[in-house]
């Protein structure tokens, strides 16, 4: 029997210095039985894509509070695809205006979460976004 775990990268692209939300989610997903790689503050899209590649993650969670999401998120998606990781599920959390959400989803983001989203909701959304052969 194989021991397959959901591997998640939690990253904070851009320059805002507030990572409480990212840490909270990282911990909550660990408690949901996932292996969470936390890379910390001020990551460039290139660094995030490189970490996602080396760690062979199933999911990337981006936490953005700076307002730069319309620049950063599509860039991360583009790099993931360029690296052959178009199958990686990307979630976004943070302060994202309602009107930007459709465009982000259009670009390939699975779901966008604002303040108040529960960790259970997010963990469940991650599980249902992944193919069935990944158990945990």
């Amino acid at each position: 029997m194989t021991d397959r775990k959901i591997r998640v990268l939690i990253a904070k692209p851009g320059l805002d210095g507030h990572d409480r939300g990212a840490k909270y989610i990282a911990q909550a997903l660990r408690d949901a039985g996932m292996e969470v790689i936390y890379t910390g503050l001020r990551q460039s899209p290139e660094m995030i894509a490189e970490a996602a590649l080396q760690e062979d993650v199933d999911v990337v969670g981006l936490s953005i509070l700076s307002g730069a999401h319309m620049a950063l998120v599509p860039r991360v998606l583009e790099l993931l695809r360029a690296n052959g990781q178009g199958n990686v599920k990307v979630f976004v959390g943070g302060i994202i205006p309602e009107e930007d959400i459709p465009a982000l989803k259009q670009a390939g983001v699975v779901e966008v979460y604002g303040p108040g989203a529960t960790s259970e909701t997010i963990a469940a959304a991650i599980r249902s976004a992944l193919p069935d052969d990944i158990v945990i």
Binding site: T2, D3, A26, D31, M34, T39, M47, A51, Q54, G84
Partner: protein
């Protein structure tokens, strides 16, 4: 080209996926290990161990960077870091935070960092750590740094895995009795007092120096005394000396035959572990589940001891009754 060929050709995503297969112990992962085996045995495996918060990740970051710019071979060395963090015994999940301290090497295409959860293994490394190191070895990474779970008194497993073990200490973590108790000094090939800019560093250095004097009395040259070095990983101070010590230890192992001895011990242990697992599986298969249950019941009722039962099973399975 399949995953193994692509990984050997230097494709990083293929390597990452191969590592996942091997870590998850899938049939494809096991087959890949068999194919890669002839190409392994070249890389220098360097363990980095010590208590939580001593700066192992920061030091691994600095060392990887230093080896990248060493300029002692051409093309430049490719360096890998395997960083192990604990899995939760309750949920099986893990928070792997070692990359946090490795930002300045994470953009270098000649460095491959992989975080691993311990997945229930004790002893500081995961069960698959050796296998992942073999894959990176076959893919041409050398040295490979293996950062253990931070614990301090139990990660002796790294000795069996690595050629050289760097034990990292830092000021303010407890008195010198802690260092004696740990047994961690005995496993050190290189001792580093990190955070040497902090108050108390001199005391830590002195305590370790005294310990070393007790353990390696002057004039006895039976065992190699590990160098005691000071460093500040955040600034990079002292890192050059550690690099030199690692290279010296490698040369020492090659000269004295220690390199081969460690390799042979490791491979023999691996073979024996696999053999015993295979024999148990064979015995279960041959005996049938009913006989297995009956035997367990006889052991549980104290009718036969585990060792008597094992002997009986061996005789039956090996067909030499």
């Amino acid at each position: 080209m399949d995953l193994v060929e692509r990984a050997l050709a230097g494709e990083r995503l293929a390597l990452a996926r191969l590592l996942t297969q091997v870590e998850n112990d899938t049939p494809a992962g096991r087959a890949a290990l068999d194919r890669l085996f002839p190409r392994t045995g070249r890389a220098h495996l360097v363990g980095i161990t010590g208590a939580p918060g001593t700066g192992k990740s920061s030091l691994a970051n600095r060392l990887a960077r230093a080896f990248r710019s060493l300029g002692d071979c051409s093309p430049a060395r490719k360096v890998a870091v395997l960083a192990v963090d604990p899995s939760s015994p309750f949920t099986g999940g893990a928070l792997l935070g070692d990359r946090l301290r490795m930002k300045d090497i994470s953009g270098d295409p000649g460095v491959f960092i992989r975080s691993m959860a311990s997945r229930g293994a004790v002893g500081g490394v995961a069960r698959a750590t050796a296998a992942l190191a073999s894959v990176l070895d076959a893919a041409g990474y050398d040295p490979i740094f293996i950062e253990t779970v931070g614990a301090g008194q139990s990660e002796v497993e790294i000795v069996r895995l690595a050629h050289s073990v760097v034990v990292v200490d830092a000021p303010g973590l407890g008195d010198d009795i802690q260092a004696i108790k740990a047994g961690i000094l005995e496993i050190a090939d290189i001792l580093v007092v990190n955070k040497a800019d902090l108050p108390g560093a001199e005391n830590t250095l002195r305590a370790l120096e005294n310990m070393l004097e007790l353990a390696y009395p002057a004039g006895s040259a039976e065992r190699r005394r590990p160098p005691l070095l000071r460093a500040t990983a955040t600034t990079g101070e002292g890192v050059e000396e550690i690099v030199r010590a690692i290279l010296e230890h490698r040369a020492y192992l090659k000269e004295t035959g220690g390199w081969q001895r460690r390799e042979q011990d490791r491979l023999r242990r691996e073979f024996e572990a696999l053999l015993s697992a295979a024999l148990v599986a064979r015995w279960r298969e041959q005996a049938g589940s009913r006989a297995v249950h009956e035997l367990f019941a006889r052991i549980a009722s104290r009718e036969v001891s585990p060792s008597q039962a094992a002997e009986e099973a061996v005789k039956k399975t090996m067909g030499c009754e």
